[in-house]
């Protein structure tokens, strides 16, 4: 029972990551009609915003380690700590949450630049060409990050107070042994909040209503004299922010490297399509569904029955859903069929 609960949490956690990336992917697709293979790169860039913020905050005074003679080895002490003492340490400790704040404007800018500079010229081009150009862009972004930060993963840590394991079991009157990392809980709930925020934005603001109407029938809304293009540019920015913030929040769980985006890209495409092209709730539902299924398939009891099932379960479920439901969970008719 405890094991099942933990796996459910794991699955939701994983699902939250899939859902956040898929959400942006499907938003961009639904509004702009662009298949964006560089979306994973936005996630990765977000993670490296966290890395950069951390490096800025821990800019250090270096004390040479005299015992090492053949090269310069340093004991580093961040200037923030030297100048501000404990307060400085606290700031550094909170570098990931600070990076989330920083990521919002940075990712918005990156998103807008990407849309203005490249993506908008590809609205009317074939999906094949969109794939090629955005794939090229993803490679270029990845290589630039590699050249700047190296290929090795760079660890980030969550603030001290949320870095340990939460006694979930004790809180809910279950087994004492039942613990779950605080940061993963924070991540899960923040993701839910972000997803809720995006939906609320689309549901309750006039801006969002126009965007939704545009997703449903672009031409008609265009005929109403509303400048869809500009609004869609903003949508791209929002997608970039969502992906970027997801990336920042994921760094304490997964030390980022330049390949991070590519690793998530394929899975998030599967998620989007399983959810149904052009459907936001579909993408979110599929994200959580696949995450949870993947977790449960990894349990020892399941693997004993079907060895290696955890390696293929996502694809198996994807195939099953696509064969029983022609347009995924909630896809609209005629979109990319």
């Amino acid at each position: 029972m405890d094991a099942l609960l933990l796996q459910l949490l794991n699955g939701l956690d994983k699902g939250a990551a899939y859902a956040l990336i898929a959400l942006g992917l499907t938003l961009v697709f639904g509004t702009l009609g662009v298949v964006n293979f560089a979306h994973g790169a936005l996630f990765m860039l977000g993670a490296f915003v966290a890395v950069s913020v951390n490096e800025l905050l821990t800019f250090s005074k270096r004390v040479k380690d005299e015992s090492v003679t053949f090269f310069d080895a340093y004991k580093e002490q961040p200037y923030l700590e030297i100048w501000l003492g404990d307060f400085g340490s606290a700031i550094i400790d909170w570098s990931v949450p600070i990076a989330i704040l920083a990521a919002i404007p940075i990712m918005l800018l990156i998103g807008l630049a990407m849309e203005r500079g490249l993506i908008r010229h590809f609205y009317k081009r074939s999906h094949a060409e969109q794939i090629l150009v955005t794939f090229g862009l993803a490679i270029v972004i990845g290589e630039i990050v590699k050249a700047t930060f190296g290929a090795n993963p760079i660890p980030q840590s969550a603030p001290e107070i949320v870095s340990g394991a939460a006694p979930v079991g004790a809180l809910f009157g279950l087994s004492e042994a039942l613990v779950y990392p605080w940061w993963r809980l924070v991540y899960l709930f923040s993701s839910l909040a972000i997803i809720g925020g995006v939906f609320a934005f689309l549901q309750f603001t006039t801006y969002g209503m126009v965007v939704r109407a545009g997703m449903a029938d672009r031409e008609t809304v265009g005929l109403l004299g509303i400048n869809i293009e500009r609004r869609f540019t903003i949508v791209f920015g929002i997608a970039a922010i969502v992906a970027g913030v997801a990336g920042v929040m994921y760094t304490p769980i997964l030390p980022p490297d330049y390949n991070l985006g590519m690793n998530f890209l394929v899975l998030s495409f599967v998620v989007v399509v399983v959810g149904g092209m052009g459907s936001l709730p579909g993408a979110v539902a599929a994200g959580f569904l696949l995450g949870v299924v993947q977790s449960f398939a990894s349990m020892g009891a399941v693997k004993e029955i079907v060895p290696g099932i955890d390696q293929i379960i996502i694809y198996l479920i994807a195939v099953a859903i696509l064969l029983t439901r022609p347009r995924g969970l909630l896809g609209r008719k005629g979109v990319m069929e």
């Binding site: 794939i131 090629l132 290589e143």
Partner: protein, 389 residues
């Protein structure tokens, strides 16, 4: 040029010329590729093999518009099947090819039958899912068949039933794949691949020029109209899918022939993505484009990745020191470990400036050249495209 770049009516004479030029270009590749450092057997073989792979992929994607994101699975299956033939029966390459293509055909019938129940991106993701499942299983649970991460390789202790029966016990050394006694290594293997490539290209040309090919193109253009015009499109798509899968299987067997090893990463999504990129880069739906795309990507992968700072400074040695260093520093971002960057930039440039791929660029170039020559000639040339009157 038009009959090369687009689906245009052609004439037997014109096609004969295309075939002759193509064969000549392929067979002389070791000579004209020398100046760019690409003339050594392994890369030449790779050009031919990935050319076949891309040509086959283009029969599906270029003609029907169905974008498979899992074609590498067929490449891998073809390789595994061929290596198993080497291990179990004989080192004769024809047996390996026949078996490799046969197994891939069966495999692609099953996968095609399932995936073609959907279209568009749903089809793409279905193919991707099957390929990823194949890859993941080949890497782990199927290790007894695939030898997992290490890749399936030949052993001196392999049974090779036919060879042993005919030639007695093998020598101590590993045998090489051979064509009735002719060892296929180095340039011999390249020429073998080249001949297969020419045949594969010929088949693809015939398909492009056939009523069957025309129908596939019509499916891409308007499947609804096809159905109301009296066509059952599903079997057409399945046949195209299987043919294209068999091309991949053929390429896979050839990979096993030129290098008797089959590894799981051949089936990974990145490998499937690579052939998609090759085809789009060169120009989907054109005869030559996919080949061109395959050549360029393989060239970058094998040559650019091997250029280091030393070679660069040799190259710019004629420049003054400061300039030399600056240029070498800049260029070294794009070669060696930076070859991915070059590839990414190339993708973007091609799509931005040449919608329709490299063949579009070539077409524009020839059109421009023609229009420069003079108006009258262009008209005469245009008439040659339309022989049906």
């Amino acid at each position: 040029m038009a009959s090369l770049t687009a689906f245009q009516p052609s004439t037997p004479k014109r096609d004969a010329i295309i075939m002759a030029v193509f064969a000549a270009v392929v067979l002389t590749a070791p000579i004209w590729l020398t100046p760019i450092g690409a003339s050594y057997p392994d890369l030449l073989q790779r050009f031919a093999i990935f050319g076949i792979f891309a040509i086959g992929f283009n029969i599906l994607f270029g003609l029907t518009g169905y974008l498979s994101f899992g074609h590498a699975a067929f490449l891998g299956v073809g390789s595994y099947a061929a290596v198993w033939m080497f291990k179990l029966l004989t080192m004769n390459v024809l047996v390996a090819i026949a078996f490799g293509v046969l197994v891939t055909a069966l495999f692609s019938i099953v996968i095609g039958y399932v995936c073609l129940r959907r279209s568009g991106i749903y089809f793409s993701i279905l193919t991707l899912a099957f390929a990823q499942m194949s890859y993941n299983m080949a890497y782990s649970v199927l290790t007894p068949i695939t030898n997992g991460e290490t890749a399936l390789i030949l052993e001196t202790a392999d049974p090779r039933i036919i060879d042993r029966a005919l030639l007695g016990d093998a020598k101590e050394a590993l045998p090489s794949p051979s064509l009735f006694g002719l060892e296929l290594t180095g340039y011999a293997a390249f020429y073998f691949c080249a001949v297969v490539l020419i045949l594969a290209f010929w088949v693809s040309l015939r398909i492009f020029r056939s009523p069957f090919g025309l129908k596939l193109l019509a499916i891409k253009s308007n499947q609804n109209r096809m159905i109301y015009t009296g066509y059952n499109t599903r079997p057409y798509l399945l046949v195209a899918f299987v043919i294209s899968g068999m091309y991949a299987g053929l390429a896979g067997s050839l990979m096993a022939i030129t290098d008797p090893l089959a590894g799981a990463e051949r089936m990974q999504w990145t490998a499937s993505g690579e052939v998609v990129l090759m085809t789009i880069l060169g120009g989907a739906g054109t005869l030559i484009g996919p080949l061109l795309g395959a050549g360029i990507i393989k060239y970058f992968e094998n040559i650019f990745s091997a250029v280091g700072k030393t070679q660069l400074s040799e190259l710019f040695a004629f420049l003054p020191d400061g300039l030399n260093e600056a240029l070498v520093g800049l260029m070294s971002l794009f070669v060696g470990e930076g070859w991915h960057l070059t590839l990414g930039v190339l993708f973007m440039l091609v799509v931005i400036f040449l919608p329709g791929g490299l063949m579009e660029g070539i077409k524009r170039l020839t059109d421009w050249a023609k229009s420069r020559r003079q108006g009258g000639e262009t008209v005469g040339d245009g008439a040659a495209h339309q022989p049906s009157e």
